[in-house]
Amino acid sequence: MKKILIVDDAKVIRKVIRQILTRHGFYIAGEAENGREALVKYKELKPDAVTMDIIMPDVDGIQGLKDIMAFDKQAKIIMVSAIDQRDALKEAIRHGASDYVIKPFEDDRMITALKNLFGEA
């Protein structure tokens, strides 16, 4: 069972993602509220993949992405954000994001994104 770390400052989104992933056979390794916590939890929990919001207080998702990729070049990180802008997409891709899901998202979109990471789609 693949272990996922969920990173989002909104508790309700963490719950929604948790419910979707659990229903589809993923295990939730942990949760974080910003990019700073994400790096700490990544090192501690060693998840198979991360879902990462972008707009978060303290350390945002792009910085969180950069920090985790600097720690682990093989990290699999899906950005999950309502920001649908070319610059944000370019930034995410440039720093190693594996996918980019736009909020609000359908359950299928999230699951396909994750399964693609593990060659299961």
Binding site: K11, V12, I55, A82, D84
Partner: protein, 201 residues
């Protein structure tokens, strides 16, 4: 406040395009229709509008979003406290009536809906008008309507006596829910955007 009718009209079109997008996004988030029942752009006297809002003692849940970029703007999304429970049920796909009290999840739902609306408004301005605009992490409130509204207008009101305000009311289909959305554009930076798309001053 010096703004020509042509510019007001252009701003209204831009704002309504963004709001239309926001209503589509709100519908998608809640898996039900979000109908715009009122949308108007107007110049408000700061003291008069806050005096009117200071009579509004309804208990509201609200989220204030500032934007960073080359266009200044603030957004306030708010709804009555009891309606935020219904919003939470809709967002989580629960039966209406499941959420019984205002808690972390309710606050977080209002925060996230505000964030999603703000992001999609900025997406519209970026993709259609080459603006540089990204929302900042939202600030949530659970307070009197008038107090929350004051927080929206405070920064611009400190240096201006007149404000340009876009007010939108959404009705959520199949419910009694009414949500309020206020957009407060910063006139100088929006003026530059209008310059860039060729609207004469």
């Amino acid at each position: 406040m010096d703004i020509t009718n042509d510019r007001l009209k252009a701003l209204e079109i831009i704002a309504k395009l963004s709001i239309d997008n926001a209503s589509r996004v709100l519908s998608k988030s809640l898996k039900t229709g979000a109908k715009i029942s009122l949308s108007k752009l107007y110049v408000a006297d700061f003291c008069e509008i806050t005096e009117k809002m200071n009579d509004d003692l309804r208990e509201m849940a609200g989220v204030l979003v500032n934007f960073k970029g080359n266009v200044g703007c603030q957004l306030l999304f708010m709804l009555p406290l009891e309606d935020s429970l219904i919003l939470t049920d809709l967002f989580l796909r629960h039966r209406i009536g499941t959420q019984k009290e205002f808690d972390d999840f309710t606050e977080s739902t209002v925060q996230e809906v505000g964030n999603i609306i703000a992001s999609h408004i900025s997406n519209t301005l970026v993709s259609n008008f080459n603006a540089v605009l990204v929302p900042q992490p939202p600030q949530t409130y659970n307070d009197y309507a008038g107090v929350i509204f004051s927080n929206l207008v405070l920064e611009q009101g400190s240096t201006h006596d007149k404000l340009l305000l876009l007010e939108t009311i959404f009705e959520i289909c199949n419910t009694e829910l009414r949500c309020y959305l206020f957009l407060l554009p910063e006139l100088t930076t929006f003026g530059k955007l209008l310059d860039s798309i060729g609207v004469p001053p």
